[in-house]
């Protein structure tokens, strides 16, 4: 499928390399009549019918984190903002999937970190930005600071013919969504046909990726049971600081890279951050683009995970990054 992004321009402006990309296909919408009915439903509900969309997902910026393994603080986040601002056309929505800030025992210091996060994210030209909290944002104060800055920790909205659901699986301290939110989700989804494209964005994985590394949500199964009747479900999440793709039933789960440091592959024995590489300071860090057209038959979403680099490395290092793994100049 054709991405809405001009990928060559994307790379040209930023000396970025495509890390690992995955083209993912949702189940086709069944029949023109049903598709038209869905278009009418979305139009009636929010005045916006299905159409082309391009989204960027950013995750785990950890503003306020200092020290090893990443000595650069907010530099990768700031670079990502510059890169996104250089996109033409601009994406129409930015999703932040938690751990926007790194927590502090001092609430005033944590509030300052939220302020810094906002000062950087507000440089984005894209004005439609949605957030969910990570445990570092909301687990110590139950989400008070997050709400002061961004409003509720769970909510939903429609965008270009897809229904987006923000789920909070951190602010109760434990990795849970909770019965109340699950009941809300059930009610929220009830008005949509089973073929409606649904995008859930949250912080922690909603399946047991690696519980002993805390890569799970205790009641993730209950959440996925509510989503199970729907044909087109995409879950975008962060938390694990690395790219990961998983399919279960009709749902596809995609973890995005972080913008602070990376964790190793879950098949490794120890959960130890990958070491900082001064030659490639943003290695394994990056952003995700999601693009597609909800009016297309079949509905297809292109997902690209993109590793960022810095302009100063756009010479040999930049080229090296753009080569496929195992290739050399």
């Amino acid at each position: 499928m054709k991405n809405e992004f001009d990928r060559r321009a994307f790379m040209r402006i930023s000396a970025m390399s495509i890390g690992a990309g995955a083209l993912l296909q949702f189940s086709p919408l069944a029949g023109t009549a049903r598709a038209n009915a869905m278009a009418r439903l979305f139009h009636k509900q929010n005045g916006e019918g299905p159409g082309a969309f391009s989204i960027v997902q950013l995750s785990d910026t950890h503003v306020g984190f200092q020290g090893p393994p990443d000595p650069l603080g907010t530099k990768a986040f700031e670079r990502a903002v510059d890169v996104i601002n250089g996109l033409d056309p601009q994406p129409d929505l930015i999703l932040f999937t938690g751990d926007l800030t790194h927590d502090s025992e001092d609430p005033a210091e944590h509030a300052k970190r939220f302020k810094t996060f906002r000062s950087i994210s507000e440089r984005l030209r894209v004005k439609k930005r949605m957030h969910v909290p990570g445990e570092h944002d909301a687990a110590l104060d139950g989400g008070v600071l997050f709400r002061e800055n961004f409003g509720e920790t769970h909510y939903s909205f429609d965008h270009r013919g897809a229904h987006f659901v923000a789920l909070d699986n951190v602010s109760m301290g434990k990795p849970i969504v909770g019965d109340e939110q699950i009941a809300w989700l059930k009610k929220d989804l009830a008005r949509f046909p089973k073929t409606a494209p649904i995008v859930v964005f949250t912080h922690r994985p909603l399946f047991d990726l690696k519980p002993e590394w805390e890569w799970f949500t205790s009641d993730g199964d209950a959440v996925m049971n509510v989503l199970a009747p729907y044909d087109n479900v995409t879950v975008l999440y962060g938390h694990i600081h690395r790219e990961n793709h998983h399919t279960a039933g009709h749902a596809q789960h995609h973890a995005a890279r972080s913008l602070i440091f990376a964790f190793p592959d879950p098949s490794t024995a120890e959960k130890k951050p990958l070491p900082f590489n001064p030659q490639q300071p943003f290695k394994n860090l990056g952003i995700r683009t999601v693009s597609g057209n909800t009016a297309a038959r079949p509905f297809v979403a292109g997902i690209d995970d993109v590793e960022i680099s810095i302009r100063e490395l756009s010479g040999t290092e930049g080229i090296q990054q753009m080569l496929k793994q195992g290739e050399s100049l």
Binding site: H102, D103, S104, E105, E135, H136, A139, L140, V170, G173, K174, P175, D208, P211, E212, E214, S218, K271
Partner: protein
Amino acid sequence: MKRTLVVFALIVVFIVVAQLGTAQEPAPRVVEISAKRFEFNPKQITLKRGERVTIRLISTDRAHGLLVKPLGLDLDADEGKPSEKTITPDTAGTFPAICDHYCGSGHGNMKMTITVE
């Protein structure tokens, strides 16, 4: 009247038998695990396969969790509010245990090991 007496007698017999049964079962061994930011104490415990054991989690500062999915353990304790669960492990192995109640920046390092042999 006669029927009432029979029912009453059966209830009494049931209670006595139930109490005898309970009394004959030995009390489970209790293993206490203390939690504070960001460590468990002890960091390793050993259980016997097939042995009933009560795991008691005690927190000395704030809310902590103890999660070991394969053993069915998911405890939460706060300062002054311990929690416990009695289990009978049936599989030998070494199981990592984590605190799953976020307790601060060192939370990710708060872990211990439970060995079943």
